[in-house]
Protein backbone atom coordinates (compact mmCIF):
# COMPACT_ATOMS: atom_id res chain seq x y z
CA UNK A 1 0.00 0.00 0.00
CA UNK A 2 1.54 3.34 -0.99
CA UNK A 3 2.47 5.73 1.82
CA UNK A 4 0.13 8.61 2.53
CA UNK A 5 1.10 11.66 0.49
CA UNK A 6 2.86 14.31 2.52
CA UNK A 7 1.12 17.61 2.95
CA UNK A 8 3.21 20.67 2.04
CA UNK A 9 2.17 24.26 2.75
CA UNK A 10 3.75 26.71 0.30
CA UNK A 11 3.82 30.37 1.38
CA UNK A 12 4.92 32.43 -1.63
CA UNK A 13 3.56 35.71 -2.97
CA UNK A 14 4.64 35.15 -6.60
CA UNK A 15 1.82 33.23 -8.32
CA UNK A 16 4.11 31.91 -11.09
CA UNK A 17 6.51 30.39 -8.59
CA UNK A 18 3.59 28.96 -6.63
CA UNK A 19 2.41 27.23 -9.81
CA UNK A 20 5.87 25.83 -10.62
CA UNK A 21 6.36 24.52 -7.07
CA UNK A 22 2.85 23.03 -6.95
CA UNK A 23 3.21 21.28 -10.32
CA UNK A 24 6.71 20.03 -9.44
CA UNK A 25 5.53 18.50 -6.17
CA UNK A 26 2.24 17.07 -7.37
CA UNK A 27 3.75 15.47 -10.50
CA UNK A 28 6.06 13.59 -8.16
CA UNK A 29 2.99 11.88 -6.71
CA UNK A 30 4.02 11.77 -3.08
CA UNK A 31 2.90 15.25 -2.03
CA UNK A 32 -0.27 17.26 -1.74
CA UNK A 33 -0.02 21.03 -1.56
CA UNK A 34 -1.81 23.95 0.06
CA UNK A 35 -0.82 27.47 -0.90
CA UNK A 36 -0.84 30.88 0.74
CA UNK A 37 0.15 34.25 -0.73
CA UNK A 38 0.92 36.05 2.56
CA UNK A 39 2.51 35.19 5.86
CA UNK A 40 -0.70 35.75 7.84
CA UNK A 41 -2.67 33.48 5.52
CA UNK A 42 0.13 30.91 5.74
CA UNK A 43 0.10 30.81 9.55
CA UNK A 44 -3.69 30.44 9.55
CA UNK A 45 -3.45 27.54 7.08
CA UNK A 46 -0.64 25.95 9.10
CA UNK A 47 -2.89 25.92 12.19
CA UNK A 48 -5.78 24.44 10.21
CA UNK A 49 -3.89 21.91 8.05
CA UNK A 50 -0.89 21.06 10.24
CA UNK A 51 1.30 20.29 7.18
CA UNK A 52 4.29 17.92 7.14
CA UNK A 53 6.52 20.81 5.99
CA UNK A 54 6.28 24.49 5.14
CA UNK A 55 8.00 25.99 2.09
CA UNK A 56 8.46 29.66 2.91
CA UNK A 57 9.51 32.55 0.68
CA UNK A 58 11.87 34.98 2.46
CA UNK A 59 10.71 38.21 0.86
CA UNK A 60 6.98 38.28 1.48
CA UNK A 61 4.99 41.51 1.50
CA UNK A 62 4.15 42.74 4.99
CA UNK A 63 5.26 40.03 7.41
CA UNK A 64 8.46 38.59 5.89
CA UNK A 65 9.54 34.96 5.93
CA UNK A 66 11.70 35.33 9.05
CA UNK A 67 8.77 36.76 11.03
CA UNK A 68 6.47 33.99 9.78
CA UNK A 69 9.07 31.42 10.85
CA UNK A 70 9.42 33.04 14.27
CA UNK A 71 5.64 32.90 14.81
CA UNK A 72 5.49 29.25 13.69
CA UNK A 73 8.29 28.35 16.08
CA UNK A 74 6.54 30.16 18.93
CA UNK A 75 3.34 28.08 18.69
CA UNK A 76 3.71 24.67 20.38
CA UNK A 77 1.31 23.01 17.94
CA UNK A 78 3.37 24.21 14.93
CA UNK A 79 6.87 24.54 16.38
CA UNK A 80 8.12 21.13 15.22
CA UNK A 81 7.04 21.45 11.58
CA UNK A 82 10.14 21.61 9.32
CA UNK A 83 10.40 25.03 7.67
CA UNK A 84 12.23 25.29 4.35
CA UNK A 85 13.09 28.79 3.17
CA UNK A 86 12.98 29.57 -0.53
CA UNK A 87 15.66 32.20 -0.93
CA UNK A 88 16.68 34.41 -3.81
CA UNK A 89 20.45 34.85 -3.90
CA UNK A 90 20.50 38.51 -2.84
CA UNK A 91 19.42 37.43 0.63
CA UNK A 92 20.90 33.93 0.51
CA UNK A 93 23.57 34.52 3.16
CA UNK A 94 20.99 36.07 5.43
CA UNK A 95 18.69 33.08 4.88
CA UNK A 96 21.54 30.69 5.60
CA UNK A 97 22.22 32.44 8.90
CA UNK A 98 18.52 32.39 9.74
CA UNK A 99 18.56 28.66 9.01
CA UNK A 100 21.34 28.17 11.49
CA UNK A 101 19.57 30.23 14.14
CA UNK A 102 16.08 28.80 13.73
CA UNK A 103 17.09 25.29 12.64
CA UNK A 104 15.38 25.74 9.29
CA UNK A 105 16.45 24.64 5.82
CA UNK A 106 17.16 26.74 2.75
CA UNK A 107 16.57 26.03 -0.91
CA UNK A 108 18.08 28.57 -3.22
CA UNK A 109 16.15 30.21 -6.04
CA UNK A 110 16.23 29.36 -8.83
CA UNK A 111 15.82 25.78 -7.66
CA UNK A 112 15.68 22.79 -9.95
CA UNK A 113 11.98 21.81 -9.94
CA UNK A 114 12.89 18.25 -10.86
CA UNK A 115 14.96 17.92 -7.69
CA UNK A 116 12.58 19.83 -5.44
CA UNK A 117 10.59 16.76 -4.41
CA UNK A 118 13.68 14.69 -3.62
CA UNK A 119 15.24 17.61 -1.70
CA UNK A 120 12.11 17.95 0.41
CA UNK A 121 11.90 14.20 0.94
CA UNK A 122 15.50 14.16 2.14
CA UNK A 123 14.82 17.02 4.56
CA UNK A 124 11.69 15.33 5.91
CA UNK A 125 13.56 12.06 6.39
CA UNK A 126 16.38 13.86 8.20
CA UNK A 127 13.73 15.34 10.50
CA UNK A 128 12.16 11.95 11.11
CA UNK A 129 8.88 12.81 9.32
CA UNK A 130 7.35 9.71 7.78
Amino acid sequence: MPAMPRKILIIEDEPDILTVVTVALEMHGSFTTTTARTGAEGIMLARREHPDAILLDVMLPGMDGYEVCRKIRSEPYLAEIPVIFLSAQADYDEAREAYERAKCFVLRKPFDPLKLASNITAILESEGVR
Binding site: I17, V20, V23, A24, Q89, A90, K109, D112, P113, L114
Partner: protein, 369 residues
Amino acid sequence: MTDSIKSDNFGIDRSVLESVIASAGVGILICDTEGNVRLANDAAARALTTSASTVLTSRIFDLLPLPQGAEVRAAFRHLSKTACDDEAFHEITFEIEGQTLKCVTHPIFTTGEDAGLMVTLLQNVTAETQAARAQTEFTSVIAHELRTPLTALKGSIDLVLANAGGEIGDSVRSLLSISQASCNRLIRLLDDLLDVAQAETGSLKLRMHVVSVDGFVLRAVETLRAQAESRGIRLLVRTTGEIPAVVADQDRLEQVVVNIISNALKFSPEKSRVTVNVRRSQSVVQVSVSDEGPGIRETDRANIFRKFYRLPETGSTETGRGLGLAISKAIVEQHGGRITVRNRRSHGSTFTIELPIPGEDELPRKNKQ
Protein backbone atom coordinates in the same frame (compact mmCIF):
# COMPACT_ATOMS: atom_id res chain seq x y z
CA MET B 1 55.10 77.50 -0.07
CA THR B 2 53.05 76.42 2.91
CA ASP B 3 54.34 75.83 6.38
CA SER B 4 53.22 72.26 6.22
CA ILE B 5 56.07 71.26 3.98
CA LYS B 6 59.29 70.35 5.59
CA SER B 7 61.93 69.09 3.24
CA ASP B 8 65.35 67.65 3.63
CA ASN B 9 67.63 67.55 0.68
CA PHE B 10 66.12 65.01 -1.72
CA GLY B 11 68.73 65.51 -4.39
CA ILE B 12 66.46 67.36 -6.79
CA ASP B 13 65.62 71.01 -7.05
CA ARG B 14 63.85 71.77 -3.80
CA SER B 15 61.52 74.45 -5.19
CA VAL B 16 60.24 72.16 -7.94
CA LEU B 17 59.71 69.32 -5.50
CA GLU B 18 57.89 71.54 -3.05
CA SER B 19 55.63 73.13 -5.69
CA VAL B 20 54.61 69.76 -7.09
CA ILE B 21 53.87 68.29 -3.71
CA ALA B 22 52.10 71.36 -2.32
CA SER B 23 49.82 71.73 -5.34
CA ALA B 24 48.92 68.04 -5.58
CA GLY B 25 45.25 67.28 -5.01
CA VAL B 26 46.06 64.12 -3.08
CA GLY B 27 47.69 63.93 0.31
CA ILE B 28 51.38 63.07 0.07
CA LEU B 29 53.50 61.89 2.96
CA ILE B 30 57.13 60.95 2.67
CA CYS B 31 58.36 58.92 5.62
CA ASP B 32 61.43 57.01 6.67
CA THR B 33 61.14 53.27 7.18
CA GLU B 34 60.25 53.85 10.85
CA GLY B 35 57.21 55.80 9.71
CA ASN B 36 58.47 59.23 10.83
CA VAL B 37 56.95 61.82 8.51
CA ARG B 38 59.75 63.70 6.76
CA LEU B 39 57.58 65.67 4.37
CA ALA B 40 53.83 66.20 3.91
CA ASN B 41 51.51 68.54 2.08
CA ASP B 42 48.37 70.36 3.24
CA ALA B 43 46.13 67.84 1.48
CA ALA B 44 47.56 65.08 3.70
CA ALA B 45 46.78 67.05 6.87
CA ARG B 46 43.27 67.80 5.63
CA ALA B 47 42.64 64.15 4.73
CA LEU B 48 43.76 63.05 8.20
CA THR B 49 41.68 65.84 9.78
CA THR B 50 44.60 67.12 11.80
CA SER B 51 47.04 69.99 11.68
CA ALA B 52 50.11 70.15 9.50
CA SER B 53 52.35 70.48 12.55
CA THR B 54 50.88 67.30 14.07
CA VAL B 55 51.47 65.41 10.82
CA LEU B 56 55.09 66.54 10.65
CA THR B 57 55.88 65.48 14.20
CA SER B 58 54.17 62.09 14.09
CA ARG B 59 54.73 58.63 12.75
CA ILE B 60 52.30 57.81 9.96
CA PHE B 61 50.99 54.76 11.83
CA ASP B 62 49.85 56.96 14.72
CA LEU B 63 47.89 59.23 12.38
CA LEU B 64 45.70 56.39 11.10
CA PRO B 65 42.87 54.58 12.89
CA LEU B 66 44.21 51.72 15.04
CA PRO B 67 43.80 48.55 12.93
CA GLN B 68 44.82 50.27 9.72
CA GLY B 69 47.78 51.93 11.45
CA ALA B 70 49.01 48.50 12.53
CA GLU B 71 48.54 47.16 8.99
CA VAL B 72 50.48 50.07 7.46
CA ARG B 73 53.24 49.55 10.04
CA ALA B 74 53.52 45.90 8.94
CA ALA B 75 53.51 47.02 5.29
CA PHE B 76 56.36 49.45 5.99
CA ARG B 77 58.37 46.61 7.52
CA HIS B 78 57.68 44.39 4.53
CA LEU B 79 58.24 47.06 1.83
CA SER B 80 61.47 48.33 3.38
CA LYS B 81 62.98 44.87 2.74
CA THR B 82 61.62 44.62 -0.80
CA ALA B 83 63.93 44.69 -3.76
CA CYS B 84 63.24 47.17 -6.58
CA ASP B 85 59.88 46.11 -7.97
CA ASP B 86 57.17 48.22 -9.60
CA GLU B 87 54.54 46.01 -8.05
CA ALA B 88 55.78 46.51 -4.48
CA PHE B 89 53.13 48.61 -2.84
CA HIS B 90 50.51 48.45 -0.13
CA GLU B 91 46.96 49.73 -0.46
CA ILE B 92 44.29 50.08 2.18
CA THR B 93 40.98 51.91 2.30
CA PHE B 94 39.46 53.09 5.58
CA GLU B 95 37.01 55.50 7.15
CA ILE B 96 38.12 58.50 9.16
CA GLU B 97 35.76 61.20 10.43
CA GLY B 98 33.05 60.17 7.99
CA GLN B 99 35.44 60.24 5.02
CA THR B 100 36.71 57.26 3.08
CA LEU B 101 40.44 57.43 2.39
CA LYS B 102 42.53 55.28 0.09
CA CYS B 103 46.08 55.03 1.39
CA VAL B 104 48.75 53.71 -0.99
CA THR B 105 52.37 53.27 0.08
CA HIS B 106 55.32 52.68 -2.24
CA PRO B 107 58.99 52.37 -1.34
CA ILE B 108 61.22 54.93 -3.10
CA PHE B 109 64.01 53.04 -4.81
CA THR B 110 66.98 55.39 -4.70
CA THR B 111 70.46 55.12 -3.36
CA GLY B 112 72.52 57.32 -1.07
CA GLU B 113 70.99 59.34 1.73
CA ASP B 114 67.48 59.12 0.29
CA ALA B 115 67.47 55.34 0.37
CA GLY B 116 64.85 53.74 2.59
CA LEU B 117 62.11 56.31 2.13
CA MET B 118 58.44 55.57 1.61
CA VAL B 119 55.88 57.68 -0.16
CA THR B 120 52.26 57.38 0.95
CA LEU B 121 49.42 58.88 -1.08
CA LEU B 122 46.12 59.64 0.62
CA GLN B 123 43.11 60.06 -1.61
CA ASN B 124 39.63 60.98 -0.48
CA VAL B 125 37.40 58.42 -2.20
CA THR B 126 34.21 59.10 -0.21
CA ALA B 127 32.13 60.03 -3.25
CA GLU B 128 33.36 57.04 -5.27
CA THR B 129 32.71 54.68 -2.35
CA GLN B 130 29.19 56.02 -1.83
CA ALA B 131 28.49 55.72 -5.56
CA ALA B 132 29.83 52.15 -5.55
CA ARG B 133 27.63 51.27 -2.56
CA ALA B 134 24.58 52.72 -4.27
CA GLN B 135 25.47 50.70 -7.35
CA THR B 136 25.81 47.53 -5.26
CA GLU B 137 22.41 48.10 -3.66
CA PHE B 138 20.91 48.76 -7.07
CA THR B 139 22.50 45.61 -8.48
CA SER B 140 21.24 43.55 -5.53
CA VAL B 141 17.69 44.81 -6.01
CA ILE B 142 17.80 44.23 -9.76
CA ALA B 143 19.33 40.78 -9.29
CA HIS B 144 16.56 39.83 -6.89
CA GLU B 145 13.82 41.27 -9.06
CA LEU B 146 15.14 39.38 -12.09
CA ARG B 147 15.75 36.19 -10.19
CA THR B 148 12.10 35.78 -9.26
CA PRO B 149 10.67 35.77 -12.82
CA LEU B 150 13.70 33.74 -13.97
CA THR B 151 12.91 31.14 -11.32
CA ALA B 152 9.39 30.82 -12.69
CA LEU B 153 10.64 30.78 -16.29
CA LYS B 154 13.36 28.19 -15.70
CA GLY B 155 11.04 26.09 -13.53
CA SER B 156 8.31 26.04 -16.16
CA ILE B 157 10.72 25.11 -18.95
CA ASP B 158 12.30 22.36 -16.84
CA LEU B 159 8.87 20.94 -16.03
CA VAL B 160 7.64 21.01 -19.64
CA LEU B 161 10.87 19.32 -20.76
CA ALA B 162 10.20 16.68 -18.09
CA ASN B 163 6.79 16.08 -19.74
CA ALA B 164 4.88 17.59 -16.78
CA GLY B 165 2.33 18.92 -19.27
CA GLY B 166 2.31 15.78 -21.43
CA GLU B 167 4.62 14.37 -24.11
CA ILE B 168 6.32 16.98 -26.33
CA GLY B 169 7.71 16.54 -29.83
CA ASP B 170 11.37 16.69 -30.82
CA SER B 171 11.22 20.15 -32.40
CA VAL B 172 9.46 21.63 -29.35
CA ARG B 173 12.02 19.90 -27.12
CA SER B 174 14.86 21.31 -29.17
CA LEU B 175 13.48 24.86 -29.01
CA LEU B 176 12.77 24.64 -25.29
CA SER B 177 16.30 23.33 -24.70
CA ILE B 178 17.60 26.55 -26.26
CA SER B 179 15.36 28.56 -23.91
CA GLN B 180 16.59 26.50 -20.97
CA ALA B 181 20.27 27.09 -21.86
CA SER B 182 19.69 30.83 -22.27
CA CYS B 183 17.88 30.92 -18.96
CA ASN B 184 20.76 29.17 -17.24
CA ARG B 185 23.17 31.64 -18.81
CA LEU B 186 21.13 34.59 -17.53
CA ILE B 187 21.12 33.11 -14.04
CA ARG B 188 24.92 32.69 -14.09
CA LEU B 189 25.26 36.27 -15.29
CA LEU B 190 23.08 37.49 -12.42
CA ASP B 191 25.16 35.50 -9.92
CA ASP B 192 28.35 37.01 -11.31
CA LEU B 193 26.95 40.56 -11.31
CA LEU B 194 25.88 40.21 -7.72
CA ASP B 195 29.23 38.73 -6.70
CA VAL B 196 31.25 41.45 -8.37
CA ALA B 197 29.07 44.24 -6.98
CA GLN B 198 29.34 42.88 -3.44
CA ALA B 199 33.01 42.03 -3.67
CA GLU B 200 34.03 45.40 -5.07
CA THR B 201 32.57 47.20 -2.09
CA GLY B 202 33.93 44.67 0.36
CA SER B 203 30.42 43.56 1.31
CA LEU B 204 30.82 39.98 0.15
CA LYS B 205 30.19 37.76 3.16
CA LEU B 206 33.19 35.52 3.69
CA ARG B 207 33.01 32.44 5.88
CA MET B 208 36.56 32.46 7.20
CA HIS B 209 38.17 29.31 8.55
CA VAL B 210 41.69 27.96 8.80
CA VAL B 211 42.01 26.05 5.53
CA SER B 212 44.57 24.08 3.60
CA VAL B 213 45.50 25.76 0.32
CA ASP B 214 46.10 22.38 -1.31
CA GLY B 215 42.49 21.45 -0.56
CA PHE B 216 40.72 24.15 -2.53
CA VAL B 217 43.35 24.15 -5.28
CA LEU B 218 42.94 20.41 -5.85
CA ARG B 219 39.15 20.67 -5.84
CA ALA B 220 39.33 23.44 -8.44
CA VAL B 221 41.69 21.33 -10.57
CA GLU B 222 39.41 18.31 -10.38
CA THR B 223 36.43 20.44 -11.40
CA LEU B 224 38.20 21.35 -14.64
CA ARG B 225 40.20 18.19 -15.35
CA ALA B 226 37.65 16.70 -17.73
CA GLN B 227 37.39 19.96 -19.64
CA ALA B 228 41.19 20.09 -19.98
CA GLU B 229 41.44 16.46 -21.06
CA SER B 230 38.75 16.91 -23.69
CA ARG B 231 41.18 19.27 -25.47
CA GLY B 232 44.25 17.20 -24.79
CA ILE B 233 45.59 19.77 -22.29
CA ARG B 234 47.64 18.41 -19.40
CA LEU B 235 46.61 20.00 -16.13
CA LEU B 236 49.49 19.67 -13.68
CA VAL B 237 49.75 20.60 -10.00
CA ARG B 238 53.12 21.17 -8.32
CA THR B 239 53.47 21.85 -4.63
CA THR B 240 56.85 23.06 -3.43
CA GLY B 241 57.77 22.54 0.21
CA GLU B 242 55.40 22.73 3.13
CA ILE B 243 52.41 24.99 2.57
CA PRO B 244 51.07 26.74 5.66
CA ALA B 245 47.33 27.00 6.22
CA VAL B 246 45.58 30.30 5.54
CA VAL B 247 42.49 31.93 7.00
CA ALA B 248 40.03 32.03 4.15
CA ASP B 249 36.61 31.30 2.70
CA GLN B 250 37.56 28.14 0.86
CA ASP B 251 34.49 28.10 -1.39
CA ARG B 252 35.26 31.60 -2.60
CA LEU B 253 38.95 30.85 -3.14
CA GLU B 254 38.04 27.66 -5.00
CA GLN B 255 35.84 29.87 -7.20
CA VAL B 256 38.88 32.13 -7.85
CA VAL B 257 41.15 29.22 -8.76
CA VAL B 258 38.45 27.73 -11.00
CA ASN B 259 38.13 31.12 -12.75
CA ILE B 260 41.84 31.39 -13.37
CA ILE B 261 42.37 27.82 -14.54
CA SER B 262 39.29 28.03 -16.72
CA ASN B 263 40.71 31.21 -18.28
CA ALA B 264 44.05 29.51 -18.84
CA LEU B 265 42.31 26.57 -20.55
CA LYS B 266 40.35 28.95 -22.75
CA PHE B 267 43.55 30.49 -24.13
CA SER B 268 45.61 27.31 -24.29
CA PRO B 269 46.32 25.53 -27.55
CA GLU B 270 45.33 21.89 -27.76
CA LYS B 271 47.81 19.38 -26.35
CA SER B 272 49.60 22.07 -24.30
CA ARG B 273 50.13 22.24 -20.54
CA VAL B 274 48.53 24.29 -17.79
CA THR B 275 50.55 24.17 -14.59
CA VAL B 276 49.33 25.11 -11.15
CA ASN B 277 52.15 25.84 -8.70
CA VAL B 278 51.61 26.18 -4.97
CA ARG B 279 54.47 27.46 -2.83
CA ARG B 280 55.36 29.64 0.09
CA SER B 281 57.15 32.92 -0.53
CA GLN B 282 58.14 34.81 2.63
CA SER B 283 54.90 35.86 4.35
CA VAL B 284 52.49 34.69 1.65
CA VAL B 285 51.27 31.51 0.00
CA GLN B 286 51.40 31.80 -3.78
CA VAL B 287 49.13 29.90 -6.13
CA SER B 288 50.14 30.49 -9.74
CA VAL B 289 48.57 29.19 -12.93
CA SER B 290 50.74 29.17 -16.05
CA ASP B 291 49.61 28.41 -19.57
CA GLU B 292 51.32 28.04 -22.93
CA GLY B 293 48.89 30.29 -24.77
CA PRO B 294 49.69 33.48 -26.70
CA GLY B 295 50.35 35.59 -23.58
CA ILE B 296 48.58 38.84 -22.80
CA ARG B 297 49.41 42.20 -24.37
CA GLU B 298 50.58 44.92 -21.99
CA THR B 299 47.48 47.07 -22.59
CA ASP B 300 45.28 44.08 -21.81
CA ARG B 301 47.30 43.23 -18.69
CA ALA B 302 46.53 46.68 -17.31
CA ASN B 303 42.80 46.21 -17.82
CA ILE B 304 42.28 42.51 -17.45
CA PHE B 305 40.90 42.69 -13.90
CA ARG B 306 38.32 45.36 -14.81
CA LYS B 307 34.77 44.13 -15.00
CA PHE B 308 33.34 43.54 -18.47
CA TYR B 309 36.85 43.72 -19.98
CA ARG B 310 37.21 41.02 -22.59
CA LEU B 311 40.36 40.07 -24.41
CA PRO B 312 40.02 40.76 -28.12
CA GLU B 313 40.56 38.23 -30.92
CA THR B 314 40.95 35.20 -28.75
CA GLY B 315 39.97 32.82 -31.45
CA SER B 316 38.08 31.01 -28.74
CA THR B 317 34.52 29.88 -29.14
CA GLU B 318 33.89 30.37 -25.43
CA THR B 319 31.58 33.20 -24.52
CA GLY B 320 33.01 34.96 -21.48
CA ARG B 321 31.18 37.60 -19.56
CA GLY B 322 34.27 39.58 -18.61
CA LEU B 323 33.46 39.22 -14.92
CA GLY B 324 35.43 36.23 -13.66
CA LEU B 325 38.74 38.03 -13.15
CA ALA B 326 37.09 41.12 -11.64
CA ILE B 327 35.33 38.85 -9.13
CA SER B 328 38.56 36.94 -8.49
CA LYS B 329 40.53 40.13 -7.81
CA ALA B 330 37.90 41.44 -5.43
CA ILE B 331 37.67 38.14 -3.53
CA VAL B 332 41.45 37.83 -3.18
CA GLU B 333 41.77 41.44 -2.03
CA GLN B 334 39.02 40.95 0.54
CA HIS B 335 41.26 38.18 1.92
CA GLY B 336 44.09 40.73 2.26
CA GLY B 337 45.89 39.16 -0.70
CA ARG B 338 46.55 40.19 -4.25
CA ILE B 339 46.37 38.80 -7.75
CA THR B 340 48.77 39.65 -10.55
CA VAL B 341 49.47 38.57 -14.10
CA ARG B 342 52.65 38.52 -16.13
CA ASN B 343 53.79 37.03 -19.39
CA ARG B 344 56.20 34.14 -19.27
CA ARG B 345 59.60 34.52 -20.96
CA SER B 346 58.91 31.72 -23.39
CA HIS B 347 55.22 32.01 -24.14
CA GLY B 348 51.96 32.08 -22.27
CA SER B 349 51.05 33.91 -19.14
CA THR B 350 51.04 33.32 -15.40
CA PHE B 351 48.37 34.47 -12.97
CA THR B 352 49.48 34.52 -9.35
CA ILE B 353 47.35 34.75 -6.23
CA GLU B 354 49.11 35.68 -3.01
CA LEU B 355 47.41 35.00 0.31
CA PRO B 356 48.86 36.25 3.60
CA ILE B 357 50.04 33.59 6.05
CA PRO B 358 48.33 34.34 9.36
CA GLY B 359 50.37 34.94 12.49
CA GLU B 360 49.91 32.60 15.47
CA ASP B 361 47.58 35.14 17.12
CA GLU B 362 45.34 35.22 14.04
CA LEU B 363 44.70 31.48 14.07
CA PRO B 364 41.47 30.63 15.86
CA ARG B 365 41.66 27.61 18.14
CA LYS B 366 38.53 26.11 16.65
CA ASN B 367 37.21 25.99 13.08
CA LYS B 368 40.23 24.13 11.83
CA GLN B 369 39.22 22.33 8.65
